[in-house]
Subunit: 219 residues, 2 copies
DNA sequence: TACCGCTTGTGCACCGGCGCACAAGCGCAT
DNA sequence: ATGCGCTTGTGCGCCGGTGCACAAGCGGTA
């Protein structure tokens, strides 16, 4: 049960999952590591090794059971239950994220929106009324919110992160272009749009022979 | 001149840059690797080694010249000139990205917006009129666009990527949750919002003692 | 001029990840 | 029942990245 899954593998599991969902919708029952590797854009050996961390469920000479594998990956990622999310910061990005359907459809329903500006509080976005950040703790508690998304300007990000942690959120996804400090027990991931472009700039300028150095090197 | 900067270092340069801009605005002239490391949330030795790839510009016993370092990093990332960007896909995410000021302010002005839907074409977002995707090649040519941002649904992403490459875009940033294939000469980076949440799900479920396994492990 | 404190630059050992390549093993056909 | 083809599971060598720890070197002071 207490399997230790390497970070690199964890980062790929959602990709496999996506590919498997697609496969399942075509009616496929079984899939080989080579076929899955092709869909996910990675090496076949890597697929096999990654899946072996979930426990071994492949059948030699045949492949993997698509549905079973989907359940295994879902379990590993904790997707068996819905994980409520709050978005902090209702600027352009926050509003777009609120409208973005990809979260809810993948088990991360957005149940609350929060902003610091009185002008925004009370406004309704995508069916949810924006609350004031001062009420964050109560909101997190009420909806049993596990994940906080930070979509504020950089200056506010650390204070928001602190507030989210204090309110009991268990992990954080930040879009703010700043360094954040959170307790070790709170997983934190950062996505910085401008940084991504700057990285591209380097490789583009070099007429790069290689990929842009992403976490996953897949094409 | 033909310095080979490791991928991991390139990914950190924008972070350093951000920290240095902040520092410069406080009037600081010099900065030590330790101070910069603190701001950027990384190890001091790593900072020194990273900067050494730019050529050596630190002074022992003193530190680095903030302005000079900023220029060095800017040069390495190709930020000396503006890099025009086109956004493809004017759904929620595309519109948010169009409004997001962080791109233009960092040397990546958004000069064109494109969509496949006739309903959207002609609409004005953030001062730019949405064009039809069929005109992509002409638009890229006219504005000398170097970077394409894909903000379409997964199904359309590969076709858009192909069109961007054919139109002469030199690098691509994709937000579509799908695997994309592009020529080796075109740097590609991917950001998948739902994937990020799923990864968090794993660590959260494990009451992780570690960070979320980001590309950069900094706090 | 000589010394001292501070900071850079880097050699080195370690670690995680990658992917080749092969043995182990399943199922089907004969 | 036997054998064959196909696919998994993994050992192993390799490579990039990391960070400690130390020598090299600058500037200010006496």
């Amino acid at each position: 049960m207490a399997r230790e899954i390497p970070d690199a593998t964890v980062a790929r599991l959602p990709i496999y999952r996506r590919s498997l969902v697609e496969l399942a919708s075509t009616g496929a029952e079984m899939v080989s590591s080579a076929a899955l590797a092709d869909l996910a854009g990675v090496n076949a050996a890597k697929v096999r090794k990654d899946l072996s961390y979930l426990g071994t469920y492949g059948v030699r000479g045949v492949g993997y059971d698509v549905k079973f594998l989907l359940r295994q990956i879902g379990d590993a990622l904790g997707l068996d239950i819905e994980t409520p999310v709050v978005i902090v910061g209702m600027g352009n990005l926050g509003q777009a994220l609120a409208h973005y359907g990809g979260f809810s459809s993948r088990g991360f329903p957005i149940v609350a929106l929060v902003d610091a500006s009185d002008a925004k509080v009370g406004e309704v976005v995508d069916g949810i009324t924006i609350s004031h950040i001062d009420d964050l703790a109560a909101i997190v508690d009420e909806h049993a919110i596990a994940v906080g998304i930070i979509a504020t300007p950089a200056e506010a990000a650390q204070a928001v992160a602190d507030a989210l942690v204090a309110a009991g959120v268990r992990s954080i996804l930040s879009f703010a272009p700043s360094v954040l400090h959170v307790p070790e027990t709170v997983p934190l991931r950062k996505v910085d749009l401008a940084t991504e472009l700057q990285i591209l700039g380097y490789y583009q300028q070099r007429e790069s022979p290689a990929e842009g150095g992403n976490t996953d090197k897949s094409a």
